[in-house]
């Protein structure tokens, strides 16, 4: 993984001192809250319902054992002993005190971590596939480019007060685990007809109040031109976006308003100029230099045989162990979705224990997935049993990756100032309802995603079943959406109809799943059945209770 050189280290240190001065000035009143808010957001600090919330950057979801230990330390020293992994691969602490945050950032800096631009109207954490470098489903590891983009976007002087947040992902569409089409901008690594590797750039995707899938901006950008192209997109966005209505200021709105063709034209103009100026060229040598940091470990010559084990182990390998590009190796998903637990939460004990696990098995890194789980990218198959046993002790071996109980869920009204409804209890109840593993396997791949408000941090638009919490006259209600997907077959879920009360929503979800089991053919997934038969049959089943009551 990337290692800071003296420049990166000094940069983060200076940024910490800059924020320390800002906090001083806020506490003394030299800065009022209106002035301070964008400044603290650009250091990842929100003010939530009970407390502040600090979002720490985990660039492209990659962490080392040392970093895990520091996160555990921060959880203990400054917070309440746990953190929460997010859908953008970051980590959130829910109880820091404002006066402690500069010290937290100083501690993070000692392990090459920070909270720079994890919130605010600026370029956010650059995300990538959690299987990067380990999967055989990529043209190349997206993380070197993600690291280059991270540096290019860090305190970029022109784009530090954008109209709204700007999220970038890097990936491949061979199997998109990074939700490329839902990003403000996405860089897809591709090969052209001549077999050269370059980048296809998309822009204008987004969740929130008005979800959109990204439009194609450029079919092929040469490697050395990529930063110039990204800069061109940001420049057009910064210049031309609305500033009069906070709900209409994402780039998705701009592109929808002027049309993708016009957007491409404006971007092309800027691109040609920036290219001609030559200041943002990315030399092959620099790309290679950064790529060297991400070289995979030396893979040993090992038997590719999958070790056997007891029923628990077999269940776990069925869903949580994935094919690795090197024989004898596997990718393992560590589920942070124990039945009845809070999705995505991780205790300081678990963080420390995972660090030990990495060390014990010679693993240099762990990844944060987009689905609020963790991933061990390079696991020797022969180590799987021992690792599973340890994960089981830690409560991290739930065998549900990709199944119905592997729910994505935002913090919701239990934590978040923006929320209309609680989301976590709904996730817990659904998981408890479907806890039976045989039943989960019968249902198969089913991605349920829950958001507590229209800001959609739970990605409900991209759920096979999406659930949106709303406030209906002071009462928590839940709307269902079906048929969303964040993968390479991206689609936006369709709203079913009127919402369900909190005592009805789990039953409604169960009826929807029942409809699937009745209608499916040829082992198709829930998503495929929905796409084949449409909303009607699911809607009828979901509202069954109401229909009966009406008669």
């Amino acid at each position: 993984m990337y290692r800071y050189d003296e420049f990166d280290a000094a940069f983060v240190k200076e940024r910490t001192e800059q924020f320390r001065y800002q906090v001083e000035r806020r506490l003394s009143g030299e800065l009022n809250e209106d002035q301070f808010k964008p400044l603290r957001l650009m250091n990842g600090l929100y003010l939530q319902l009970h407390a502040y919330m600090l979002r720490i950057a985990v660039p492209y979801g990659t962490l080392s054992a040392k970093q895990l230990r520091m996160l555990a330390h921060i959880a203990r020293k400054y917070d309440k002993g746990y953190g929460h992994f997010t859908t953008r691969q970051n980590l959130q602490f829910n109880w820091p005190k404002l006066k402690d945050v500069p010290d937290i950032l100083a501690d993070l800096a000692t392990v090459e971590m920070h909270a720079i631009q994890t919130s605010g109207n600026c370029i956010r954490n650059v995300t990538a596939d959690q299987f990067a470098g380990a999967t055989d489903e990529e043209i190349e590891d997206p993380r070197p480019l993600a690291e280059i983009i991270r540096q290019w976007s860090s305190l970029h002087p022109e784009f530090i007060f954008l109209a709204r947040k700007f999220k970038i992902a890097v990936g491949t569409s061979l199997h998109d685990r990074a939700a490329l089409k839902y990003h403000d901008m996405a860089v897809e690594i591709v090969k052209n007809e001549a077999g050269e590797t370059g980048y296809r750039v998309w822009a204008g995707g987004g969740m929130g109040r008005t979800p959109y899938l990204a439009h194609l901006m450029r079919e092929f950008v040469e490697r050395e031109d990529i930063l110039a192209y990204l800069e061109a997109v940001l420049r057009v966005y910064n210049q031309d976006s609305r500033r009069d209505n906070i709900h209409k200021q994402r780039i998705k709105i701009l592109i929808n308003a002027i049309g993708p063709e016009e957007m491409r034209r404006r971007v092309a103009r800027e691109f040609e100029e920036i290219k001609a100026a030559g200041t943002l060229q990315l030399p092959a040598a620099e790309l290679a230099r950064i790529a060297a940091y991400f070289a995979p470990p030396k893979f040993e010559k090992l038997s590719d045989e999958m070790p056997g084990g007891d029923a628990d182990f077999e269940n776990w390998t069925k869903t949580n162990v994935h094919r690795h590009r090197a024989p004898g190796y596997a990718i393992a998903t560590i589920s942070l979705k124990p039945i009845g637990g809070v999705p995505g939460d991780c205790s300081h004990q678990q963080l420390d224990a995972l660090a030990d696990l990495l060390d014990r098995h010679g693993m240099a890194e762990i990844r944060v997935s987009h689905e609020q789980n963790l991933v061990l990218p390079h696991v020797r198959k022969k180590d799987l049993s021992a690792i599973f046993a340890r994960l089981k002790e830690l409560g991290l071996a739930t065998p549900n990756a990709g199944l119905v109980t592997d729910i994505i869920c935002c913090p919701g009204l239990d934590y978040c100032d923006l929320a209309n409804a609680r989301s976590i209890p709904v996730a817990q109840k659904i998981a408890e309802r479907f806890a039976d593993l045989d039943r989960q396997h019968d249902i198969g791949e089913l991605k349920i995603k829950i958001s507590g408000c229209i800001n959609a941090c739970g990605h409900h638009h991209a759920g096979h079943i999406g659930i949106l919490g709303v406030d209906k006259k002071g009462v928590e209600y839940y709307q269902l959406q079906l048929g969303g997907s964040a993968a390479e077959d991206a689609s936006i879920g369709e709203i079913m109809g009127p919402g369900f009360g909190e005592h009805e929503i789990v039953d409604a979800v169960e009826r929807v799943i029942k409809a699937y089991t009745l209608l499916r053919i040829n082992g198709e997934r829930f998503l495929d059945t929905y796409r084949r038969v449409g909303m009607e049959p699911f809607k009828n089943m979901a509202y069954l209770d109401q229909l009966h009551a009406a008669y």
């Binding site: 050189d5 420049f7 990166d8 000094a10 940069f11 200076e14 940024r15 001192e17 800059q18 001065y21 800002q22 030299e30 800065l31 002035q35 964008p38 400044l39 109207n121 540096q151 290019w152 860090s154 305190l155 970029h156 002087p157 022109e158 784009f159 530090i160 007060f161 954008l162 109209a163 420049r235 910064n238 210049q239 500033r243 100029e273 100026a277 200041t279 943002l280 620099e286």
Partner: protein, 162 residues
Amino acid sequence: MPLIKNGTYAEDGFSVVADDAALPPGGAIVSLARFKKERETLLARNAPLGVWLKSDESPEALGEDVQRLSLVVLEFPKFRDGRAFSWARMLRTRLGFTGEIRATGDFLYDQLAYMTRVGFDAFEVSDKITPELLQRALKEMSLVYQPSAEGRKTIGQLRAGA
């Protein structure tokens, strides 16, 4: 309001002129609307000319005339409106403007470094920002990843030993 130019307090040789007011003998700052309307007259004056751009007014509207201006004023109606960062950048790069780019309106001490890096060289300030504070602001982040208008070396260039 005090003017800080090139790092120190400076006399303002310009006055802002309303759209319907008579032009003063010395340096004058007019709105873009007035500049478009009275372009010939304004450019023919034998006195420095500046144009005031609102945050939704692109300097592109000035075209090649920008070379004949001494000053462009970029307004921040609200410090969160960051369009002027791109306008300053456009003035320095696409339009090749070498005159004074002056910031006016609502901006923070915390934005001064970014503003300098995109090409601002003058700031109309309240008493909350002084030349000393400007110097401090410019030193907060000694290293930068992106190219700057003042030609400061980037981290990339430092790495390459440039």
